[in-house]
């Protein structure tokens, strides 16, 4: 049913989604903490910035990445000056794109969890002379577990569902940038509908299970 190429695409997608989620947790946790705590004037603009990928068409991101990361763009030129390869058509490029694209899906659940923390618990820990970092890791993090789980599931699933950006900067390279959604598109384009059906059904099953799990996880909340 599934060809070797399909499996390659599936493996690549899982790798991309896992790495994206991992990097996003590292970025999103301090960012969400800051957004939950700050009352500064920059809170609203920063919130808006984080939420941008939710509303922008993926083509906007794809276009900017193609132009800015390419050898004629400023990021691309800086990278070449440092002796690095430019990002479009590479797995690293997809990773950068996915991190930007899935950012709000990871930041927002964590931020919500942080915002609803009972501040008195944190203050108690601090009064007992816990180091702020210590208080964060032993009090804030465990209490926000639900938010983190939701963030991980959504970040991962949303990266699996990525398509437009990859189509614009990927270049359709097997094992490097040809993720499941693009492989499915290739099957459809080549009118290979039987192969397309297998992959599409698999993705529906995956997305449904993920969402089902998520709703069970948040049951009664």
């Amino acid at each position: 049913m599934l060809t070797l190429e399909d499996w390659t695409a599936i493996a690549l997608t899982l790798k991309l989604a896992s790495l994206t989620t991992f990097i996003l947790l590292l970025i999103a946790t301090p960012l969400a903490w800051h957004l939950a705590q700050t009352q500064g004037w920059w809170k609203a603009p920063l919130n808006a910035l984080v939420a941008l990928p939710l509303v922008l068409p993926p083509t906007v991101l794809g276009f900017y990445l193609l132009v800015v990361l390419g050898p004629k763009g400023w990021v691309g030129q800086s990278m070449q000056a440092l002796g690095l390869e430019t990002l479009p058509f590479s797995f690293t490029g997809l990773l950068v794109a996915s991190v930007l694209y899935s950012l709000p899906f990871v930041v927002q659940p964590i931020q919500a969890a942080f915002s609803s923390l009972d501040r008195r618990l944190l203050e108690a820990a601090l009064t007992l002379r816990a180091h702020p970092l210590d208080a964060f890791f032993t009090v804030a993090l465990p209490l926000s577990k639900q938010g983190f789980l939701t963030a991980i599931v959504l970040g991962f699933a949303h990266t699996v569902g990525e398509f437009g950006v990859v189509l614009m900067i990927g270049g359709n390279i097997s094992g490097e940038t040809r993720v499941v959604s693009v492989q499915l598109y290739n099957h459809v384009e080549a009118m290979n509908y039987q192969a397309a059906h297998s992959l599409a059904a698999l993705l529906v099953l995956f997305a449904f299970s993920v969402l089902l799990g998520l709703y069970y996880l948040n049951r009664g909340k």
Binding site: L66, K72, E85, F89, I169, G171, N172, E189, A190, M191
Partner: protein
């Protein structure tokens, strides 16, 4: 063939004279998008009819037509796909004719890059070579044939990046993300002049000729304006315009 087309047109001209300006839904292979925009203006000036143009790779447009897309005329980048549409009873056999002969080029957005093109390909000192997806785009298929003819398909396999159609392939090269790419001559030249970078006009014995056929789709049969557009496309002024964009012209039959 052309005579039959003409008589069809004459039959329909009775209708078109009483009808006012109509819209013709045209599906066009990406490589011919720019010339078609100019042709559409000329057609409108002449007849008052307006073209509603949709673009994509030939293979993708075929799939769309097969699934009921409302196109009335199809301008393909090959002759095989219109034949398939005729065989599937989605297009009118007598209406099919060659409107242009496509020319494949190797293109770089940098000047002086392609003084010795075959050497550049053989030396393999670039990161990316762009081509259109060969399963759906005839120009991509031709690009693979060129690499095969030069014996380079193995050594350059890892450098290939695929555009969804020839327009995206052009974008990859124009933005510099791919140093080199196989595109249509019509995309990189305007009024006989190269617009940007450097180009290698690939010898035509390295690939199967890209015979681009137009066909009237079944959904266009009841639309006289669709037939008059096909007639216009085969006319001398239109053919002159097409050749100015870097296409070869079919020999008169």
């Amino acid at each position: 063939m052309k005579k039959r087309l003409l008589s069809l047109v004459l039959l329909n001209s009775v209708y078109s004279s009483v009808l006012s300006a109509d819209e013709v839904y045209v599906a066009v292979a990406s490589n011919f998008f720019a010339p078609l925009a100019v042709l559409a203006q000329a057609f409108k000036a002449e007849t008052g009819h307006e073209l509603k143009v949709s673009t994509g790779s030939t293979g993708k447009l075929y799939a769309q037509i097969e699934h009921g897309a409302p196109f009335q005329v199809f301008l393909s980048a090959d002759s095989k796909t219109p034949q398939q549409l005729v065989a599937a009873k989605l297009a009118v056999a007598e209406s099919q004719f060659t409107y242009a002969l496509g020319k494949l080029v190797l293109w770089s957005s940098e000047p002086n890059k392609l003084a010795e093109p075959v050497e550049v390909l053989k030396k393999n000192e670039f990161q990316h070579l762009a081509l259109a997806n060969p399963t759906t785009a005839p120009y991509g298929k031709a690009a693979l044939e060129v690499l095969d003819s030069l014996g380079l398909s193995q050594s350059l396999a890892s450098k290939q990046v695929q555009g969804e159609n020839i327009s995206q392939t052009y974008d990859f090269v124009a933005t510099g993300n791919a140093e080199l790419g196989f595109v249509a001559l019509s995309q990189v030249q305007k009024e006989g002049e190269l617009t940007q970078g450097s180009v290698w006009l690939i010898p035509e014995d390295l690939y199967t000729p890209i015979q681009q056929d137009a066909v009237l789709l079944v959904r266009g049969q009841a639309q006289p304006a669709a037939l008059s557009f096909l007639k216009f496309l085969a006319s001398k002024p239109a053919q002159t315009m097409i050749s100015a964009y870097g296409y070869g012209l079919p020999k008169a039959d």
